[in-house]
C-alpha cells in the first residue's frame, strides 16, 4: 500500500517537475540576475515545502554555499544530492529529457540535457535528488575554473598531482561527492560531478 | 554515650535515637549525615573512623555507633 502511495506521489512530483521545467519561464529567468534566480529557486522550494508540509525542515538545511563539488550555472548552485525540483525550475527548459525506470520499483532516474551540461537525478522517497552533472562544452567551467579543452598542466595546477589516477583522470572526492576530470591526450575531455553513496 | 546521643540529636532532632535501630536502612541518615557525624565524633572523642568502617551495620543505631567508637579506641 505504502509503495503505491509512494509511487503516486513520485508520479505527481514528476509531473510537477516536468511542468516546472517545461513551462516556458526560461526567457524570464534569462533576464533576471543571478541573485534573483537563486531567491526564486529558494522561494519555489519553500512553496513546495509548504505544499507537502513535511519538507520544511529540509528546505532550511539545504542552502549550501557553492564549493568545489557544486556546479554553478548562471548563478544557480547545483549541488549533488540536492533536491532537484527547485534547480530544474531555476534552470528552465531542458533541451532533452529522458527518464529511466529501475528494474522493479522505486521510481525514476531522470536525465536533463541542457545546452552545455547534463544533469541526472535519482529518486529518494518522494523527491528527486541530483545524482550527477556532466559538462558538455567549454562555455561552462568548474568552481575552480576548469573547462573542457583546458590543458592537463592547468588541471594539475588547480587540483594537484595527488588527485591524478595515474592513467587518464583527476578525481577529487569529499566522501559525499566526487569530481572527475577526464584527460584525453593532453586536454580535458570530460568533467563530471557524481554523488557518492556510502 | 550521652555525648554521642547529643551529637545525634543535633543532626536529627526529630528521631528518638535510643529506640531507632534502622537509621541507615530507613534512610534517616544519608551519606552527608554520616560524614558530618564522623567529623563530630572525631572532634568530641578524638577517634578517627576510617572509610572502610562506614558501612550500614556500624551506623544503624546509636548503640552500634557507640560500639564502633569503643572498638576503634581500643585498637
Amino acid at each position: 500500500m505504502k509503495k503505491i502511495i509512494c509511487l503516486m506521489i513520485a508520479v505527481v512530483m514528476a509531473a510537477g517537475v516536468l511542468t516546472a521545467c517545461g513551462s516556458g519561464n526560461s526567457g524570464n529567468t534569462a533576464a533576471t540576475t543571478a541573485d534573483q534566480q537563486t531567491t526564486a529557486a529558494a522561494n519555489a522550494d519553500a512553496a513546495k515545502a509548504d505544499e507537502t508540509g513535511a519538507l520544511a525542515a529540509d528546505a532550511q538545511t539545504e542552502a549550501p554555499a557553492a564549493d568545489r563539488y557544486t556546479f554553478v550555472y548562471k548563478g544557480t548552485n547545483i549541488a549533488l544530492k540536492a533536491e532537484a525540483a527547485a534547480i530544474c525550475e531555476a534552470l528552465g527548459d531542458a533541451k532533452s529529457y529522458t527518464e529511466e525506470t529501475s528494474c522493479a520499483f522505486d521510481g525514476l532516474d531522470k536525465n536533463y540535457t541542457y545546452t552545455s551540461f547534463i544533469m541526472t537525478t535519482y529518486p529518494d522517497g518522494d523527491r528527486d535528488r541530483v545524482n550527477s552533472i556532466t559538462l558538455l562544452d567549454d562555455t561552462v567551467s568548474t568552481f575552480d575554473g576548469i573547462s573542457i579543452g583546458d590543458s592537463k598542466d592547468k588541471v594539475e595546477e588547480v587540483y594537484g598531482a595527488d588527485s591524478f589516477n595515474g592513467v587518464n583522470a583527476y578525481i577529487m572526492t569529499d566522501g559525499d561527492a566526487q569530481l572527475t576530470v577526464i584527460i584525453d591526450g593532453d586536454k580535458v575531455s570530460s568533467i563530471q560531478y557524481t554523488a557518492v553513496f556510502e | 554515650m550521652e555525648q554521642l546521643l547529643e551529637i545525634l540529636e543535633g543532626l536529627h532532632p526529630e528521631v528518638d535515637f535510643e529506640l531507632a535501630d534502622d537509621l541507615i536502612d530507613a534512610k534517616i541518615f544519608d551519606s552527608f549525615d554520616i560524614v558530618t557525624l564522623v567529623a563530630e565524633i572525631n572532634a568530641e572523642f578524638d577517634v578517627a573512623i576510617p572509610a572502610e568502617e562506614l558501612i550500614p551495620e556500624n551506623f544503624n543505631s546509636a548503640e552500634a555507633i557507640w560500639e564502633l567508637i569503643q572498638r576503634l579506641d581500643e585498637e
Binding site: - | G10, A51, E75
Partner: protein, 522 residues
C-alpha cells in the same frame, strides 16, 4: 556483540545449554570461557587491556592478603607480649608496605582508564598528535569503565581487609570479565557477587523463567521505546530547536535514557539470573524520586555506591579533612563541620563526570548535579519546618508535585550531556526563560522529528506500560512475582504478546540505525 543482536541470542542460547548440561563443578569455567568469547567478539586488540587489569588485580590482592594474614597470625601468636602501641605500630608497618603496591596498582590502572577516556574515545579530541599514535584511535577498549571499577573496588576491599583475596587466578579473571556486566554494568562488589558467581547452579525452572522474562522486558524497553525515540532526539539536537522544543528534547531524552539504560541492565541482570548469578540492582524506579539526591540513590546505584564508598567517604573522613573540619568549626560554627562534605561531593561529582567522558560537558553535568544536591541538602531544615507547618504539603498531591519537579529538574540537568558544546546547552537553557513557543506542540513540528503518528502511538503505549509496571512494583515486590499469581494460560499469553511486541514494534534491522546502548560508550 550487542545484547540486541541475533548473534548474542544465539551465543546465549548455546551458553545456557552448555551451562546446564555440563557438570555443575565446571559451570563457572563455562562462564569464563563464554565471557572471553564475548569479549573477543569486540576485537582482539582489546584483550591486552583486560588481561593487564586482571593480572595486576590478582597479583596485588594476593600480595596484600598474604601480608594481612601473616599480620593477624603474628598478632594472635604474640597476643600476650605485645602492648597496644606495639600492635598499632606493627599494623601500621604492614599497611604501609601494602600501601605501596596498592597505590601503584590503582594509579596504573586508573591511569590507563584515564588515558583511554582522554585519548581514545574520539581521535579529534586526542591530546596527543593523532599522526604519531594513530594506531590508538581504536575507540575505547570494550567495557573498560565497568570492569575497571569493578576490579579496583575489589583491590580496595582487600587492602582495607574487607574482602579476602581469591587464590584462583581464573576466578578473579571471571569476576573481572563476567560478560553481562561488561556492556553497561552493573558494577558488582566482590563480596556480593562471588558466592553466586562460582557456586554450582542446578537448573531452577523458576529462576530461568524469571531471568528470561526480565531479559524480554529489557528488550522491550530498549528496542521498542529507546531506539524508536532516538531519531527524534537526533533531530531535536539541531540548532533551531529552542524554548519549548528544547524542553521537549529533555523529556524525550529522559524516556530514551531510561529505556536504554534500565532496559540494558534488565537484560544484563536477566542474563545473570538465568545463569543463577545474582547481580545488584542498578535502579529502583528512579523517576519516582522526590528530589535529586534521592534520584541519585535510585539511579545507576552501583556506580554511585562505588563512588560513595571509594571516593566520597575516604576523602571526607581523611585526616586532613577532619582537621580542616575542626578548624572551620571554630570560625564558622556548625556550618564549618560541613566543609569536608562539600569538598568531598565536589570531587566525587567531578569523578563521576569524568567517568562518563573526558569532556567539558560531562564535568559541567557533574557539577550541576553536585550543586543542586548540596543546596537541597542545606535547605533541608527549612523543608522540614515547611512540612511541619503546612499539613497539605504531606498529601499525596504534593508528593506528585515533588516527583514532577524532580523529573523536570533532572531532565534539564541531564540534557547537558547531549551537547558537546557547553555554550550551546546554556544558550538553550536560557531560551526556556523567554521563548514560549508552545505552538510547536500542535503545529506539526512533532511530525517532522523523524517519528510518524504510528511511532507516537507505539511510544505512548510503551511508556504507559513502563509506567504501570513501575507503579505496580512500588511495594518493592517484583512484577514477575505478581504475574506468577495469575492463571498460567493468561500469563503465557501476556509473555507471548510482549515477545510479539518486541519483534514487531522493535526498532532493529535494516532501515533502523540501531543506536548502541548509550551507556556502552562510558
Amino acid at each position: 556483540m550487542s545484547f540486541t543482536s541475533i548473534n548474542f541470542l544465539v551465543f546465549f542460547g548455546i551458553l545456557i545449554i552448555l551451562y546446564y548440561a555440563l557438570p555443575k563443578k565446571i559451570q563457572w569455567i563455562v562462564l569464563l570461557v563464554a565471557s572471553y568469547a564475548f569479549y573477543l567478539f569486540a576485537g582482539l586488540k582489546y584483550l591486552g587491556f583486560i588481561l593487564f587489569t586482571t593480572i595486576t588485580t590478582y597479583l596485588v590482592t594476593r600480595y596484600m592478603d598474604g601480608r594481612i594474614k601473616a599480620q593477624n597470625e603474628y598478632l594472635k601468636e604474640h597476643k600476650a607480649e605485645l602492648s597496644k602501641e606495639d600492635k598499632k605500630a606493627y599494623k601500621k608497618q604492614v599497611k604501609s608496605r601494602n600501601r605501596l603496591w596498592f597505590i601503584l596498582t590503582i594509579v596504573v590502572n586508573f591511569g590507563i582508564l584515564f588515558f583511554c577516556k582522554a585519548c581514545l574515545v574520539d581521535p579529534l579530541h586526542s591530546m596527543t598528535d593523532s599522526g604519531v599514535i594513530s594506531f590508538l584511535s581504536v575507540g575505547l577498549p570494550f567495557g573498560i569503565s565497568f570492569y575497571m571499577f569493578q576490579s579496583m573496588g575489589y583491590v580496595i576491599d582487600v587492602y582495607r581487609g574487607k574482602a579476602e583475596a581469591e587464590n584462583n587466578f581464573f576466578k578473579v579473571a571471571l569476576f573481572v570479565s563476567f560478560f553481562p556486566q561488561l556492556v553497561q554494568g552493573p558494577i558488582s562488589k566482590w563480596e556480593q557477587l562471588k558466592e553466586s558467581l562460582f557456586a554450582p547452579h542446578p537448573f531452577d525452572r523458576r529462576q530461568v523463567a524469571f531471568g528470561l522474562q526480565r531479559m524480554l522486558w529489557g528488550f522491550f524497553k530498549k528496542l521498542v521505546i529507546a531506539d524508536r525515540i532516538a531519531v527524534a532526539i537526533g533531530t531535536l539536537k539541531g540548532t533551531e530547536y529552542t524554548g519549548v522544543s528544547f524542553f521537549l528534547l529533555t523529556v524525550f531524552y529522559a524516556v530514551q535514557i531510561y529505556g536504554d539504560f534500565t532496559g540494558g541492565i534488565d537484560i544484563a541482570i536477566g542474563v545473570g539470573e538465568t545463569l543463577g548469578v545474582i547481580m545488584p540492582e542498578n535502579f529502583i524506579r528512579p523517576y519516582f524520586s522526590k528530589n535529586i539526591a534521592e534520584y541519585w540513590r535510585r539511579w545507576h546505584i552501583s556506580l554511585n555506591e562505588w563512588m560513595k564508598s571509594y571516593i566520597f567517604y575516604p576523602i571526607t573522613v581523611s585526616g586532613p579533612m577532619l582537621k580542616l573540619a575542626l578548624k572551620t568549626r571554630k570560625s564558622l560554627g556548625k556550618f564549618g563541620m560541613r566543609i569536608p562534605v562539600y569538598i568531598g561531593s565536589l570531587l566525587t561529582w567531578l569523578g563521576t563526570g569524568v567517568w562518563h567522558g573526558f569532556n567539558l560537558h560531562f564535568i559541567v553535568w557533574g557539577l550541576m548535579n553536585c550543586f543542586v544536591i548540596v543546596i537541597s541538602e542545606e535547605l533541608n531544615p527549612l523543608y522540614e519546618k515547611f512540612h511541619q507547618k503546612y499539613s497539605w504539603s504531606n498529601t499525596r498531591g504534593y508528593n506528585v508535585f515533588q516527583i514532577l519537579r524532580m523529573f523536570v529538574l533532572m531532565n534539564l540537568i541531564r540534557a547537558s550531556d547531549l551537547f558537546n558544546d557547553v555554550g550551546d546547552y546554556f544558550r538553550r537553557m536560557g531560551s526556556l526563560a523567554w521563548q514560549f513557543n508552545f505552538h510547536v506542540l500542535w503545529d506539526g513540528t512533532l511530525m517532522n522529528l523523524g517519528l510518524n503518528a504510528v511511532d507516537y502511538v507505539i511510544l505512548i503505549a510503551g511508556i504507559v506500560l513502563m509506567f504501570l509496571v513501575s507503579f505496580f512494583s512500588r511495594d518493592d515486590v517484583s512484577f514477575r512475582v505478581k504475574l506468577q499469581k495469575i492463571p498460567w494460560m493468561v500469563r503465557y499469553l501476556l509473555i507471548f504478546l510482549l515477545l510479539l511486541a518486541v519483534i514487531l514494534f522493535g526498532s532493529y534491522g535494516i532501515g533502523y540505525d540501531a543506536s548502541n546502548f548509550i551507556y556502552n560508550q562510558f
